[in-house]
Symmetry: C2
Subunit: 369 residues, 2 copies
């Protein structure tokens, strides 16, 4: 079960949030949005673990432009726990930075790494899984990853194949992670589901900081070396300047690709909860409550504003904010008003909103980014 005092959280909250444009913006990324409840995703993430990891033991790694807004969302997390990356360099540098800070406080700490913007439908199942993972990681020298049993042949996730059973912790099985697979084709995803020994890679990890940093040293020696120059200056006035010097030269690489796929001490614990990375409007459409015609509708928060009139429309995701949105005869469409913009596209193409952002940048229409 682990001594609670030794468990620390590292929340990865640097995402640019381009996939929910125009709702998400450069300065208002997904983790700040109330897209799965009436609270922001970062708040949900912090709140979800707060009875297991108190806010003062949670570090939030983010960017300069988001730090202030994030802190406003979760003021219970101390300001000093916000670790600001000068530029985003994917998850390996991000988690190394958090690991250094945690190691400084407790060299024997267990670190729980969580994305800031995922949906977890079942909190108690989630906490049971986390506690078991922590219990396992405390005793064994494994990098642990939380694997989610697939409920559909999703092509938007990475998959992890389980190997031999390493044991059980609080009744939850832990396996050796045998192979990591990139986002598959639909045909392959169907095979994975049928076989039953593949799990979705949730991007949530548990490990002792020492075990993690040892893996970093072994598989990402350059990153490790750069980070080591930081160690002596953590929490001092020089840290910011050093980060600014180091970060731009770091290779952007994910923990999965850079370490988990290469290490032989990787374990998978079977998540006891349902999960989504909520990576597109289509994913969001599956999560929101539906009307009788399968429409996921979100009206404006202010009285009388952002009303929706979906006539003879089905399977749509419609989000209003200020103006009335009337639709007639739409099927499986995304219609979103947010701020100074409006998006209309078929549900199945909602991941292409990044093309809008490319065009906006190309045209220099910064007020819409």
């Amino acid at each position: 079960m682990g001594k609670r005092g030794r468990v620390y959280g590292a929340i990865m909250a640097g995402g640019g949030g381009t996939r929910f444009w125009p709702w998400s913006r450069e300065k208002r990324p997904k983790q700040i949005l109330p897209i799965i409840s009436n609270r922001s995703m970062i708040w949900e993430t912090v709140e979800r673990v707060s009875h297991f990891i108190p806010p003062e033991k949670i570090f939030i790694v983010t960017s300069r432009s988001q730090a202030k807004d994030l802190h406003r969302e979760v003021p219970q997390v101390p300001k000093r726990n916000f670790l600001v990356e000068p530029v985003g360099r994917n998850t390996a540098p991000c988690l190394c930075l958090a690991a250094l800070h945690i190691q400084k406080l407790d060299p024997e700490a267990v670190m729980v790494a969580l994305p800031a913007d995922h949906l977890i439908a079942n909190r108690s199942g989630f906490l049971r899984t986390l506690k078991a993972a922590v219990g396992f990681a405390e005793k064994q020298n494994f990098l642990m990853t939380l694997g989610v049993r697939p409920t559909e042949p999703e092509t938007g996730y990475g998959y992890i194949q389980k190997g031999e059973t390493l044991g059980r912790m609080n009744g939850i099985p832990v396996f050796r992670a045998k192979a990591f697979r990139e986002k598959p084709t639909l045909a392959k995803a169907r095979v994975y589901m049928r076989r039953g020994d593949y799990f979705w890679n949730s991007g949530m990890f548990v490990w002792r900081v020492g075990i993690f940093l040892a893996a970093a040293e072994k598989f990402l020696p350059q990153l490790y070396g750069e980070m080591m120059t930081l160690r002596a200056f953590l929490g001092t006035s020089r840290e910011v300047a050093l980060l600014k010097k180091i970060y731009p030269h770091l290779q952007p690489i994910s923990v999965d690709y850079g370490m988990m796929e290469k290490a032989d001490n990787v374990a998978l614990i079977a998540a006891q909860f349902s999960w989504s990375d909520v990576g597109s409007f289509a994913a969001l459409g599956k999560i929101w409550p539906k009307d009788k015609k399968g429409n996921a509708l979100m009206e404006g928060k202010q009285a009388g504003r952002g009303k929706i009139l979906a006539i003879d429309s089905s399977g749509c995701l419609i989000r209003g904010e200020e103006k009335l949105i009337a639709t007639i005869g739409l099927k499986d469409m995304v219609v979103v008003e947010a701020g100074n913009a409006f998006l209309v596209c078929p549900m199945e193409r909602s991941q292409e909103v990044r093309r809008v952002l490319q065009e906006l940048r190309g045209k220099g229409w910064k007020q819409h980014l």
Copy 2:
């Protein structure tokens, strides 16, 4: 050619403009909108005939709620020439009212009746047709209607079958109107086109006021009788009160159905211009200039506002006003922002916007009507 001093215009401008919601509103109907140019349709209509019928000889029949806004659009038409109907009762009462006023000024006047909100692409052809019709109507006791040669099997228009040739005026053929047909099925419309003796009923008429009022007396005796009680009070302070008393009891009936279909002195002159009643967003989409992918786009009038980004979209009509509208992968869709509302629907269903209005009335969301 007609003595110009004897030619008067009657513009029917009472339409509620429900078909262009949310652009058109109860208080901002189609005839006031700049939908086919950067001037309002009523302005286009008055301007188009102004070298043939001077504004002081043009009467505009409209409703109380629209009179002021219309006069603002066409200040060249004297205020006294705006005839206000207390309620709309279709075209027969509307044109009777105008005919009475015109008759009072000149019992031998030729009256040109025009809808306020139609598109006429070729002004000189239009004026040639009008002048020929006036010339014919001056000499012969006919109710004349302007027929447009169909360019496609349109199911949204009424059709008129031509009969024997009555003659030519200024080289333009005039036929007896043999039969009026309501809006046909597509199969029937195709037959009409193939036969070549059917014309679109444009809803534009030319007649001497006496001939018209005689037909009203014969075919709509009740309407005629009520209108006669008005005659002595035209232009006096009692006219408004009398109109308010008479109008609510009048049967709503069109000139076509109430008189033209029944009279045996109806002539059709072959219009020398292309025409559209611009009755839906789909019709408007055909008229607006297109981009390379067949999209009809209208951005906001204010700099930087109402921009449009149509990515991989074709055959759409998109109108922006304030917010950026971004679309991905849309085909033949209508996307319109106007005031406090947005509409999204397939082009082929754009005539169903009236369902939105019904729902808005049902819900009491008056601010959107």
